[in-house]
């Protein structure tokens, strides 16, 4: 049981324990300390000036000087302050923070894969290329599309690539068109993508069920419409039942349907965007396909498209020669060009393929069903206490609002922070924007019934606290190293880098200045 002052909830999942304070490595530095010792020089010393001339650096870089054990403890201590998917559920809606299976890591570390070099001759890279090809084939099968590029480094990069394809397609017909239609429930990256690609964004208001108002869309679409960017299921976790009609309305005017695949976790193995009229879409391997997400992943955002858009895919594209070998084809005159150096984040392809093959078709379908089941379990267990702004059936995530708690001054951000006291990472707060005070919760399929029940207990307890002791929730968290941060001052007067005290001999006219 936690002994933290003010904590009255059931803390079955967590107990407060000591964590060690840790200053910045720069603050721990002492001049001359080293974590290494070199053997005496046994070759003739070379004078750097004779080789580099004026480019030789005269001052030493300002780097922290620590011993090996100090460095190890530094990072280990910092790591104990973190919350991670390996510690518990990470119910961030729209983020799909699922478990990263260890078999993915094992496979990606196999010597032949981990040590392959992107500049190896193609003839010596056939194994790696087969991995790329097989993953492409699997993703094409799963999405029902015709062609794919694995180059984009993450979701927003995928969106950018997808809309570049749409633009190139329209340009090839003589007119790039002017506008991209985006529902008001969209991820913020969608309008940013459209604007970056030179389109004017047209905002489409959602209907009373939180979905696309097809009649309003039909009025909006015209010969100037390049595409619509649609997330399906939408950001409130609802499947667009009229997706066929949406596609028809767009196609009638020659516009394209782009699907933001962030929520593909709800579709894999059940239905295919290629079959419901999508022309181009991205996937997030770091969401749906279990590769690491956040904290420098890195991500991977493949873009799949229909045959009509295939000529515009980024170069190079993978092709199989007459001799059965795979090679990269750079001769693509209509291509939008390269969007990423080399071939994309190959390490993620290996992990995503391992996940796909380990599950197989039935396994992938099961993960989708479990993801939807888990979200609906939360919905049923919490809908008596938290306001459900849209009662349309939920898919992989459920969106509540803080309407009932807000009456007592408790907002979604407060409930989220109180969850930290119960040992959970907060859900997504205040998104989607069409729901005021949104609580967006996505458990994913990774969680057991036991973990889900702990979360339900915590949420029910917090709802009670919001009634009986709202101040407790409004000032949470109470059991963390740091409670509420001053977000406003951090945003208005950000301190972005460490500045050493000059009297310690740290001169900032060195590399540290550029940090």
């Amino acid at each position: 049981m936690a002994t933290t002052k003010g904590f009255i909830g059931n803390t079955r999942k967590v107990t407060a324990h000591l964590t060690q304070n840790e200053p910045l490595s720069f603050e721990k530095s002492s001049p001359g300390k080293r974590a290494y010792k070199l053997a005496p020089l046994d070759v003739p010393e070379v004078d750097a000036v004779s080789l580099l001339g004026g480019a030789v650096r005269k001052d030493d870089p300002t780097l922290p000087e620590l011993s090996e054990i100090e460095i190890i403890r530094h990072f280990t201590r910092l790591s104990t302050w973190n919350y991670a998917i390996d510690l518990g559920m990470y119910p961030l809606g729209s983020c799909t923070m699922k478990y990263n299976p260890r078999v993915n890591e094992f496979v990606s570390r196999l010597e032949g894969i981990a040590e392959a070099h992107p500049y190896q001759p193609e003839s010596l890279s056939q194994g790696s290329l087969e991995i790329v090809k097989l993953l492409q084939d699997c993703l094409i099968e799963i999405t029902g599309m015709d062609a794919i590029t694995l180059q984009p480094a993450a979701g927003a990069h995928g969106e950018f690539t997808g809309i570049l394809l749409a633009r190139a397609y329209h340009e090839s017909k003589g007119n790039p068109r002017k506008t991209v239609i985006i529902p008001d429930s969209a991820h913020g990256t969608n309008p940013a993508t459209a604007a970056t690609c030179g389109y004017q964004v047209v905002n489409l208001k959602s209907n009373a069920k939180g979905g696309v108002d097809v009649a309003a869309l039909a009025q909006m679409v015209n010969e100037g419409t390049a595409a619509m960017m649609l997330t399906n299921p939408s950001t409130i976790g609802v499947f667009e039942n009229e997706i066929h009609r949406i596609a028809d309305v767009l196609h009638d005017k020659g516009a394209l349907l782009y699907m933001d695949g962030a929520n593909m976790n709800a579709l894999v193995g059940k239905t295919r965007p290629g079959d419901f009229g999508v022309d181009v879409m991205h996937l997030n391997l770091h969401k749906t396909f279990s590769t690491p997400h956040g904290g420098g992943g890195p991500g991977s955002g493949p873009v799949a498209c229909k045959t009509t858009l295939e000529p515009f895919l980024p170069t190079p594209v993978l092709a199989r020669d007459g001799d059965g070998l795979l090679h990269w084809n750079y001769n693509r005159p209509q291509s939008v060009g390269r969007v990423r150096m080399l071939y994309g984040n190959f390490g993620m392809f290996v992990r995503a393929l391992a996940y796909t093959l380990a599950n197989g078709p039935d396994g992938l379908r099961q993960t989708t069903e479990d993801a939807v089941l888990n979200a609906n379990y939360f919905r049923k267990k919490l809908e008596d206490l938290y306001e459900l702004p849209y009662d349309t059936p939920s898919m992989h995530e459920v969106v509540f609002s803080d309407k009932r708690q807000a009456k007592n001054g408790v907002k979604t951000g407060d409930i989220a922070k109180r969850l930290i006291d119960y040992g959970f990472h907060p859900y997504t707060t205040s998104f989607p924007l069409i729901v005021p005070g949104a609580l967006m919760i996505e458990p994913t399929e990774s969680e057991s019934r036991e973990e889900l029940d702990l979360f339900v207990d915590a949420m029910r307890q917090i709802a009670r606290e919001a009634e009986e002791n709202p101040q407790l929730v409004a000032t949470a968290p109470h059991s963390t190293r740091i409670s509420r941060l001053d977000e406003t001052t951090a945003a208005r007067k950000p301190v972005l880098r460490w500045q050493g005290p000059p009297e310690n001999g740290v001169e900032l006219d060195t590399a540290a200045k550029e940090w």
Partner: protein
């Protein structure tokens, strides 16, 4: 919070005070309250043409970035430079901390804007949703 009767309002939560051909534009107290602490105001430059109901700038709070919609068509004649260093003035006095001044190209547009009473009715409906 009382909404000044001398102002006109938009459904996107901007206010405008019109004197002759010049309109002074800001956001309402309801808007600043929904946004939370404002940390940055992205206003257009003097001379920029703004269009009624179109985006003329944006405002960043600790919660979100929101577009600013112009209540009228015209050209920007002055920008409140004070907001660059002190965006919090909108939080403390939304109806005093103006963002831009616009020379109206069609003063008759003002007639289509909401009165203070209509705007209050509008936000009452919004909050009841």
């Amino acid at each position: 919070m009382a909404y000044p009767e001398k102002y006109k309002y938009t459904r996107e939560h901007e206010w405008i005070e019109v004197a002759g051909k010049v309109g002074i534009v800001g956001i309402t107290d309801y808007a600043q309250n929904s946004l939370g602490d404002i940390v940055f105001v992205d206003a257009p430059k003097v001379g920029t043409k703004v269009e009624k109901d179109a985006v003329f700038g944006s405002m960043e709070s600790v919660k979100a970035v929101s577009d600013l919609y112009s209540p009228v068509t015209g050209a920007v004649t002055e920008v409140n430079e004070d907001l660059k260093s002190s965006p919090e003035k909108i939080n403390s006095d939304a109806h005093g901390a103006w963002i831009i001044k616009v020379e109206l190209s069609d003063p008759s547009e003002v007639a289509s804007l909401l009165s203070a009473a209509d705007y209050e009715k509008f936000i009452a409906e919004e909050t009841a949703k």
